[in-house]
């Protein structure tokens, strides 16, 4: 007969929330300071060192925020997908915390990418929005984020919400490349290339990379902080529930728990 059995896996024992809280508590200040410093240095390079583009002038400086935002918007989705996989397959206790914490941050960066892209587009294309393949794909990514957050918030049972959101995240990650491919196909049918992809000079590339690195650290700092908040929120919730149970419990305090006290006895009839 097949049996139903689950037991704590080794990864579950290793990565318990307590250890995470301990480690992240020590790392977080350093990451925060490092990201602030690197972003400040990148901004110095952007505004005082990097040359204005000969075609785009000073507006090119939006790119130093736009590109890292777009990249982090995608990376956050990858992180959510990996976390979702970890939740559904390995039942990793931190996986859902990570997925839940990453969604709003990823959505915010995606939105930032859309807004900066739109602001950049105004001087470039003469309009705030064009149905460029990239903009369209990023917009759809933003919709996926909205779907993830809306689904989670509309299901009361948090454990169930976590699993269902993970299913949606994995469906999304399978479909994202297909959506991207179809949007590219659609774009080539309808519109000539907008010529955004010009070769990038080192004078622009280096500040861009530094800026991207700083923003990535910022992302990790925010993600870690959000995970810590979520863990604390869950602890508060657990304590409250325990309090409710204690209030409900009829057995007087101090009485040893009689959990699983089972007496099977033959009924009078028949024996």
């Amino acid at each position: 007969m097949p049996t139903m059995q689950t037991s704590q896996s080794i990864t579950q024992k290793l990565a318990n929330p307590t250890r995470f809280m301990d480690l992240s508590g020590r790392l977080l200040p350093w990451i925060t300071v490092a990201s602030a410093g690197i972003i400040a240095y990148a901004m110095y390079l952007v505004f005082f060192v990097a040359p204005p583009d000969y075609q785009q002038g000073q507006t090119v400086k939006i790119m130093y925020i736009h590109v890292p935002s777009a990249w982090l918007g995608m990376m956050a989705y990858a992180l959510i997908a990996i976390s979702s996989f970890g939740l559904l397959v390995f039942r990793h206790p931190l996986a859902d915390v990570s997925a839940k914490a990453a969604a709003p941050i990823g959505a915010a960066f995606t939105l930032l990418a859309l807004l900066t892209g739109s602001l950049w587009g105004k001087p470039m294309w003469g309009t705030y929005w064009v149905w460029d393949a990239r903009l369209t794909s990023v917009l759809l990514l933003f919709f996926l984020y909205l779907g993830l957050m809306a689904l989670r918030s509309s299901i009361e049972d948090e454990a169930l919400a976590a699993k269902l959101t993970a299913v949606l995240a994995l469906v999304g990650v399978i479909l994202l490349p297909i959506i991207k491919f179809s949007v590219d196909w659609w774009n080539t049918l309808h519109q000539p290339s907008t010529g955004l992809t010009t070769t990038v000079h080192a004078s622009i590339r280096v500040p861009l990379l530094i800026s991207a690195f700083g923003f990535s650290l910022l992302f990790f700092a925010m993600h870690m902080k959000a995970m810590r908040n979520e863990i604390l929120r869950r602890r508060v919730k657990a304590l409250r529930m325990a309090e409710v149970e204690r209030a409900q419990s009829n057995s007087p305090p101090g009485n040893p728990s009689v959990s699983g006290d089972i007496r099977a006895r033959a009924a009078q009839a028949g024996e």
């Binding site: 779907g147 689904l151 009361e156 269902l164 949007v183 196909w185 659609w186």
Partner: protein, 226 residues
């Protein structure tokens, strides 16, 4: 194996019988399809050239919205009356249950909507010569709507505001089908070489979603009958 196939067919047949007897749902979807199409000229103006140019796109979008309306039916009733729990006790894997129910949804909703599209096309001055191609692309593309839609239907079984949420979850997943559905129609009207490639991709999208949809929907259903 033979037994599993018979069970699958029995389940599809039962869902179809229910769709016919309980009626309503298809009528609502068709009515909605008609309304959305009728609103277009009212919003865009009665210029026949413009309408004719955008007819196939409008019909595709209206079809997506109309099909969306009927998606909750895939699992909702069986969840609420406990039938899904009994199905979980059978030997047919939940993935096949989800596939059977999505297939029944396609037959009872996708096919009628696709067949009705040319008639509504008349309202939009659709070039009648392109109607057969339009129907063909809709028939090839609507399975993806049912199979991908079953994921959303399963995910929102216990959700508050399920209907609105379903639209938000599912519509982005429909974008590839929409794009290739319309590009196939356009390719046909231009007699372009890209007709067969985009038609093939449309079919591939439907086949791919027939695999992905039941797996994801079954996972979502199993989590919810715990």
């Amino acid at each position: 194996m033979r037994g599993a196939f018979a069970t699958f067919v029995a389940l599809v047949r039962r869902d179809l019988v229910l769709a016919v007897r309980e009626g309503g749902a298809l009528g609502t979807a068709l009515g909605f399809f008609l309304i959305v199409v009728a609103l277009m000229p009212l919003g865009l103006g009665p210029d026949l050239n413009l309408l004719s140019r955008i007819a196939s796109g409008v019909l595709w979008i209206a079809l997506l919205l109309a099909a969306l309306l009927s998606l909750p039916r895939i699992f909702e009733a069986d969840y609420e009356d406990g039938a899904l729990e009994v199905m979980a006790m059978g030997e047919l894997p939940m993935e096949m249950v989800a596939a059977a129910k999505s297939l029944a949804h396609w037959i009872s909703t996708g096919i009628p909507l696709a067949l009705m599209a040319p008639m509504l096309g008349i309202l939009l001055n659709l070039d009648l010569a392109s109607a057969p191609v339009l129907v063909a692309t809709m028939l090839a593309g609507t399975p993806a709507i049912s199979f991908l839609g079953s994921i959303g239907a399963a995910l929102t079984l216990k959700a508050r505001r399920g209907g609105l949420l379903l639209a938000l979850l599912v519509l982005p997943l429909y974008i590839p089908t929409l794009i290739f559905g319309i590009s196939t129609v356009n390719a046909a009207s231009l007699a372009s070489d890209s007709f067969w490639p985009s038609f093939a991709i449309l079919v591939a999208l439907s086949l791919g979603s027939a695999v992905l949809g039941p797996i994801a929907a079954a996972a979502a259903v199993k989590f919810q009958i715990q």
